[in-house]
Amino acid sequence: MNTSPITQWDGTEAYFTFAHSGFGTAICLLASIAIVVGAIWYGTRHESRDFAKFHGKG
């Protein structure tokens, strides 16, 4: 995948991947937000299951 916003270094300013593509930037940003939110959701579920499993043993 060609994500480079530049073809030469002269006069370059922002050059991070997808710097030329609002869509690409948005997808990456939304994906990273989803990872954070999803990890907290997953952690909450996992924690509740651990507690339930522990109660079951007890």
Partner: protein, 455 residues
């Protein structure tokens, strides 16, 4: 002759361009290493918090601490940095804040911007430090995910809003009241301590902490040496933290974050003297190595607001008094029924308050820049109240909602058995731990060792 002048002009222009990029790179290097040093704060909090836990909760405490860092950093990228740039004048969005939005061209590799990345990283580490301050206080009974949500709010919203108001060259506390807090005693320590207090009120004490008559028991740290080493690592990291509080100006004198002239030497004098004074104050009061090191931290925090101003012996004296007083505040908090497992409210909350107040009491009259008012006791008191409220109200409110929905605290039987057994897939000490020949010291509590009451 004319040709020689042209060549000379070209050489001067080349030298100027070279000096400009050297200045930019030197600035990057300075903040890069400040940020690297700040990582040791987290190594310290990790050791300190795991040491302060009982053996049955060591890894859960460590997991919680690591995840606080991991979740605060991305959320600080998503919205924390923007909050700092958007709200210095209050709750209206300032011009230029767009450059701090996460999709801005400044928020990533950019050859025309050597500053944003290193400043963002340093502030992200300040944010993670702020969240870690709460982490130790709530060990052994808070739900991990509740803690993470509280950490994100504290680290990526609340403290940085306080920083925009009182730790920013255009912050309204400075422009309107002359608030002076160069080392972030207010927006980091006081805000974090107050937020933590609000959470602790709703979280409640660990099982066995209090007797039926309300008298406290000592819940012993499983490894005091680990906590003491952790505290020393935090102190090391604070040299990066405080270094990150001064502004590197290419080709000119350093300034503090408010734009007033300052020197790194001033910071050096007073950080070291504050550390020493705090240790002595803690030693005189407690003779407890945990508290001696905690009070060393209190000492630095208590002189942080005026780090650029103090005559070093005055910084030493302020820190010694603060170090003497902090354990008394921790005891008072404990007797009030609030179980702060590591004394974070006393060390950071009260330490930060003392730091902000000390400038008003002993450094009033220092001029500000431009038309902004000078340092005053009134300005410091306003800052103290604002930072305290900014921390306490959301901490209390958010944890109250979590408590009401049953998502704040782990179940009682899980707490009794230990979080490691239930939540962590590995063991901290698989070959077991032997009971020490002499009783281990407790970081807090003067009562008898805690017993777990029967169901």
């Amino acid at each position: 002759m004319e040709q020689q002048l042209i060549e000379l002009g070209q050489k001067v222009a080349a030298l100027e361009a070279s000096a400009k990029i050297s200045d930019a790179v030197n600035m990057e290097i300075f903040y890069w290493w400040c940020t690297a040093l700040m990582i040791t704060i987290h190594a310290g909090f990790l050791a300190y918090e795991m040491g302060a836990s009982r053996a049955k909760n060591v890894l859960a405490a460590g997991t919680k601490n690591l995840l606080a860092f991991a979740f605060v950093v991305p959320t600080f990228f998503f919205f924390g940095w923007w909050i700092y740039n958007a709200f210095p004048t209050g709750l209206t969005i300032s011009d230029g804040a767009d450059a701090a939005l996460p999709w801005s061209s400044a928020m990533g590799p950019n050859l025309s911007d050597n500053a944003t990345g290193v400043f963002w990283a340093a502030f992200a580490l300040f944010a993670a430090t702020t969240a870690s301050i709460m982490s130790g206080a709530v060990i052994e009974r808070i739900r991990l995910t509740a803690f993470l949500m509280l950490s994100i709010v504290l680290g990526s919203v609340i403290w940085i809003l306080g920083a925009a108001w009182g730790w920013h060259p255009a912050g309204w506390l400075t422009t309107e009241f002359g608030f002076h807090d160069v080392g972030a005693a207010g927006c980091v320590h006081l805000v974090a301590g107050a937020f933590t207090l609000g959470v602790l009120i709703n979280l409640g004490p660990r099982i066995g902490k209090y007797n039926a008559d309300g008298t406290p028991n000592a819940i012993k740290a499983h490894s005091v040496p680990l906590t003491v080493v952790g505290l020393m690592l935090i102190i090391v990291g604070f040299f990066g933290f405080l270094g990150g509080c001064i502004i590197y100006n290419a080709g000119a004198q350093w300034t503090n974050i408010f734009g007033q002239p300052a020197t790194l030497s001033a910071f050096a004098f007073n950080t070291v003297m504050g550390f020493a004074g705090g240790i002595i104050g803690g030693w005189v009061k407690t003779r407890d190595p945990f508290w001696m090191m905690s009070c060393g931290l209190v000492g630095i925090i208590s002189v942080a607001s005026g780090l650029d101003l103090w005559y070093p012996p005055l910084a030493f004296a302020i820190a010694a008094v603060a170090g003497f007083v902090a354990p008394m505040i921790a005891t008072a908090i404990e007797r009030a029924g609030i179980d702060d497992a590591v004394g974070a409210v006393a060390v950071h909350g009260a330490g930060g308050a003392m730091g902000v107040l000390a400038v008003g009491l002993f450094a009033a009259g220092y001029p500000n820049v431009g038309e902004m008012p000078p340092v005053s006791l009134t300005g410091q008191l306003v800052g103290l109240v604002v930072m305290g409220a900014l921390g306490f109200i959301p901490g209390y409110a958010m944890s109250a909602v979590m408590k009401a929905t049953g998502t704040l605290r782990v179940p009682r039987d899980v707490e009794i058995m230990g979080l490691d057994l239930v939540e962590v897939p590995i063991e901290a000490y698989p070959e077991g731990m032997t009971r020490p020949a002499v009783p281990v010291m407790s970081p807090l509590g003067t009562g008898t060792p805690a017993a777990v009451p029967a169901e």
